[in-house]
Point group: C3
Chain length 167, copies 3
């Protein structure tokens, strides 16, 4: 079974930087699997800033929806998936069945030969959101994180750029 | 003194599942003390989903306000109180004196013979809420968590379904 | 180099109380550097409540913006800076260059002879805020926390009034 690492944390807590370093320790070149879709200028700027930070040791793939396919196609080197929360957003905004997709993703992990580092977000530690969509999203994000964490060999929570071992 | 355990965490972080397992380890049948009140259909669905997951090893009590009374009445077997945050919501929405109620709860704990596992929520790690009521609620929730944690023998933070030891 | 401690956590998680105790362990009298500005009655009440809790072992300084100056001027005894998040708020609301100010603060730390305990807030673990200003603020707060944490000798996350060691 592949080595599966889940890196979770709040916004700007250093998740991606930490996850990138851990992925490159597993071997280079590594695959960077970006789930972000540029819905607006702000998101486009965030994606550009992320890409600018990464060096030539990365092969970048953009895949907003079909993570199982891209993980199978890149199964010859370490992969970083950044991030599960945007993937979930894409599924929910596209009115896909996120629960089936999430379970299919978790079910695929034992088949993979090369390691996968997943980045995700903690979104459930604030006040209950006013609107239903936000509540449904944070519930889904919580379940997704639980399912991937259960399948992971290691789970890290980043706080202020520093890793805390969860599992 | 009874063994007191506090399980805190974000939404859908696996708090209840973890707390249920810990309670049943302490003895069965155990008392499940539900503080939830069904204010609307969404809440009713959440309560039903919670109940469906629990098995026959539980005796369920619904008590939205008087936790001290129900803890004294059930003091012959382990209890799970799920959750303190909804209890606080009930107190505040009912315009009760939550601070006096919280202090009375904490003052009762040393008198109890059987263990109590409390579930609560972390609600203060997001952006400062726009509205005053939400700010007052998150302040109150923070103090309540501190007071119960100070009286607890063990405090666990759940992240992605996994326990992190706080105390 | 001075001993630098960063205490982070959610609202009402016991950050200030913990940080005050740690500062006083380093020597008394200690300097209390308050960054809060009373923008409204609610804030004024919070500041008054904080001050009422502190005893005569503190020399209080109010400094909403120029932390470098006050840290240099008070460099003969332990300092508590409470808190970085309000300092950032002051910089951003005053349309200052927060990033330059934050980097200047971090660059000053190695020059200081006396220890500094910083209090800050975790604000990035909730749902993505609706408005742009709140998103920019939580991004800035995340980077500020990372930069200070990288320069700190010790980083603590408070949960329910209890310290968790991050670094």
């Amino acid at each position: 079974m592949a080595r599966i690492l889940l890196v979770t944390g709040g916004a700007r807590s250093g998740k991606s930087t930490y996850a990138e370093a851990r992925t490159l320790e597993l071997g280079t070149p590594a695959h960077y699997i970006a789930t972000a879709q540029a819905w607006d200028d702000e998101m486009e700027a965030r994606i550009a800033a992320h890409q600018a930070r990464r060096g030539p040791e990365w092969v970048t793939h953009a895949e907003p929806l079909d993570l199982v396919k891209v993980l199978r196609e890149t199964d010859t080197a370490p992969r970083l998936v950044d991030c599960l929360t945007l993937w979930l957003t894409n599924l929910m905004l596209g009115e896909k069945d996120w629960e089936t997709a999430a379970k299919a993703l978790v079910a695929t992990l034992p088949d993979l030969a090369s390691p996968v580092v997943f980045v995700t977000n903690e979104v459930g530690l604030g006040i209950v959101p006013d609107n239903r969509l936000a509540r449904d999203f944070r519930d889904a994000a919580g379940y997704l994180n639980q399912w991937v964490a259960a399948a992971a060999d290691e789970v890290i929570l980043t706080v202020a750029g520093l890793p805390m071992k969860v599992k």
